[in-house]
């Protein structure tokens, strides 16, 4: 009995579309908020892990790439990577970085910092991304948030791709902040 493909089985295309759009116009980075808000709404409204289980494009992408290259790593990640200490620690780190990005946006809004048109990878390496600053008529803070959010999305996807190559395809999901948060919500609701 073969399972029939559903429309959401093709959602791996979403991260590719997202990063491509942001490559040309950074304002598209705001679309990433969907991946932030929808899982929380679903989990909060009693939908459990439906986002991770069905609609997450990123999770699907990590599963599809190794299949495409016929190179699925069979190695299970080391235990600490899916331990609660690491998972919740990474979540706190991630949220702190998100907070710092929002603060940076506020500084630009308040006029005490200037707009930086670069993408910061792994919270460290600045990559010039000025070419994507194509719509200059929006307030500077809107653009600043786009750069910050795109950096966060790209960094987490790159980490996901690295652990996908080193271990089993969806290893990122073991410590993905959204996955940890939604599972946490479900456990709290129980």
């Amino acid at each position: 009995m073969k399972k029939t493909k559903k429309w959401y089985d093709y959602l791996w295309i979403w991260p590719i579309v997202y990063f491509s759009l942001g490559y040309f116009n950074i304002l598209f980075a705001w679309l990433g908020m969907i991946d932030f808000i929808v899982p929380l709404i679903i989990a909060g409204c009693g939908g459990g892990k439906a986002f991770c289980n069905r609609y997450c494009g990123r999770g699907k992408l990590f599963a599809v790439i190794p299949k495409l290259f016929k190179k699925e790593n069979k190695k299970v990640a080391p235990g600490w990577m899916y331990s609660n200490i690491f998972r919740y620690g990474f979540l706190i780190f991630f949220l702190t970085m998100f907070g710092s990005m929002v603060y940076q946006t506020y500084l630009v809004f308040a006029g005490s910092a200037s707009l930086k048109t670069a993408v910061k990878l792994f919270w460290t390496f600045k990559v010039p991304w000025k070419r994507a600053y194509t719509v200059t008529s929006v307030p500077a803070w809107v653009t600043q948030f786009s750069y910050g959010f795109y950096s966060l999305m790209l960094t987490s996807t790159l980490i996901g791709l690295i652990v996908m190559a080193l271990y089993r395809p969806r290893t990122w999901c073991t410590f993905c902040p959204m996955g940890t948060m939604t599972q946490g919500i479900c456990k709290l609701k129980k």
Partner: protein, 72 residues
Amino acid sequence: MKSKNIATVNKSVCVSCGACLDACPMSAISTPDGCYAKVNEDLCVGCGKCSRICPTGCISIIKREEQQNEEN
């Protein structure tokens, strides 16, 4: 006829990511409350696909009798 083997999830390790749901050809796994994955014993054929894809390695394939013993 029911298969000899069956998948079983170690709940304390499962992160309910859903990788096993995608891999299961029988749609025998779900995450009913969002906390952990659960195997439908009537549908599972013990093929082991879920166990090979699970990123935390928390699915084992065991003999059906063992599963029943564990439950009792």
